[in-house]
Amino acid sequence: MHPAPSIIAFTTFSGLGLGLLFWLGVDPDAPTGWIAFAFFLIGYVLAIGGLMASTLHLGRPERALKAFTQWRSSWLSREAWTACAALVVMGIYAALLVFFGLQVHVLGWLGAILCLATVFTTSMIYTQLKTVPRWHHWSTPVLFQLYALGGGALLSGRVTTGLVLIGLAALAQGGWWLAGDRRLAASGTTIESATGLGQIGRVRAFEPPHTGSNYLLREMVFVVGRKHAHKLRLIALGLMVVLPAFLLLLPFGHWLAVLAVLAHVAGVLTARWLFFAEAEHVVGLYYGKR
């Protein structure tokens, strides 16, 4: 799949933001006042910024509100609802904390659940796609949740929890990559099944339908070299977990913490780039690109 910056930004930043909001929601002793304002601001900027970025991907962003209509069947529509619900509920929770110093735990917990639900619906947009075997697995939502929780924990200043969670996320990510590498082959979808010509013999794509490019190739057929991908995986893991862990295990310092978070975000962005770039859409089989 094409690693579109808008979608990478969307999933990464909304995940981090919602993760942060989650931790603020479940915090038994949440900050109040200006400190709360600062935390919630970061959470909202990331979450809303991410969601706004996703609209850059739309052909007709001015019609985006129509996406709320199909919550019964569409994960994207559900995501729109959960995101709004999460942001509204957390907004009330935050306003009470910031302006009144009042923590309504029920609201916090409800908001936190909605935050995770939003991350879940986001992940389900990808997970539901049978056409992308690498994504089409229960582990994808788990991975998204771990990223959101881990990144959120780091952002909220929960160093130990954060490190444990990003460690888990890294482990999950490693497993997901290794398992994912085999999932297209395991899906049973091949150029032979795609063309129905396997009865006759081995099938090889000959001339493409058009010599030029097209939407399908640009959007769904992105080929990243195996060596290149492996290097990027290591970089992603290094940035996402190893470097932050190193920085945070040093004597605490704000700048180090900021650096750790930035390294983590850069690592997640890299991993997310790979999430799309490495994902094989079965339509590529028709073009002999797999």
Binding site: M1, G59, P61, G196, I200, R204, M220
Partner: protein, 249 residues
């Protein structure tokens, strides 16, 4: 309308004969012409006279080389457009209800005024049947020429999809695949019509007829040999044979 109908009254679709398709792209361009001028937004082209021309097409013809174990390689031309699946994943993923499957005939359509151009339906389609038009920002797909097949301003015989009407080799057939007695259903039954990517569970309505066996002469060598039984080895004997044969005529 993102939920799929339980059942459709009819299942209109195409049967594409891979034994006959010569790969001429007539269907591709006829489709482009009709759907540029008709249903919804025109199918636009970007950089049409430049270095990277690229446009929206609802039907494209691939080609594949197939290598049997013991015969020469074959080339198969392979037209592909929306298969109007019974279990169309492109419909259920749509967040706005723009994509829907019609209850009366099973045609999968995009209501362009509701489309936000998120592209998720194209991601959900295993066949690459949907293309986002870059000029209009909405998803385009085969309509099975819904604006031709019922069009009362067209002569009755022209009420078929543009690609079917134009196909010079007659490799494309249109009809109701839910009716076992329809011409298309019979073709599918007689010729072993197949689904593309059956494992994806989309239950495509469109069917493909596989190429008939090729290059089977080696199996016929014994049957053919008697046809070359010599009547003579050299000219004199041959001319005598002619004389004798003509006498008998």
């Amino acid at each position: 309308m993102t939920t799929l109908p339980e059942q459709t009254t009819r299942s209109l679709g195409l049967v594409i004969d891979l034994d006959t398709c010569v790969g001429c792209h007539a269907c591709v361009i006829s489709c482009k012409g009709w759907n540029t001028e008709n249903y919804g937004a025109p199918l636009s082209d970007q950089d049409p006279y430049g270095a990277d021309p690229s446009g929206t097409f609802l039907n494209r013809v691939h080609s594949y080389e197939v290598q049997p174990d013991d015969a020469p390689a074959q080339l198969v031309h392979f037209p592909k457009s929306c298969l109007h699946c019974q279990d169309a994943p492109c419909v259920t993923v749509c967040p706005t209800g723009a994509s829907y499957k019609r209850t009366e005939d099973g045609i999968v359509l995009v209501n362009e005024t509701d489309c936000i151009g998120c592209g998720l339906c194209a991601w959900a389609c295993p066949y690459g049947a949907r293309e986002l038009d870059l000029a209009e920002g909405v998803m385009k797909k085969c309509t099975l020429c819904v604006d031709r097949i019922y069009n009362e301003t067209l002569p009755e015989e022209d009420r078929t999809p543009a690609c079917v009407r134009t196909c010079p080799a007659g490799a494309r057939h249109f009809g109701d695949l839910s009716d076992p007695d329809s011409d298309v259903s019979r073709l599918v039954a007689d010729r072993g019509g197949m689904d593309l990517m059956p494992e994806q569970g989309t239950k495509p309505v469109n069917k493909y007829l596989p190429p008939r066996p090729r290059d089977s002469w080696q199996g016929e060598v014994d049957v053919l040999a008697p046809f070359l039984e010599p009547v003579a080895e050299e000219p004199r004997g041959f001319l005598a044979w002619i004389d004798k044969t003509l006498e008998k005529l």
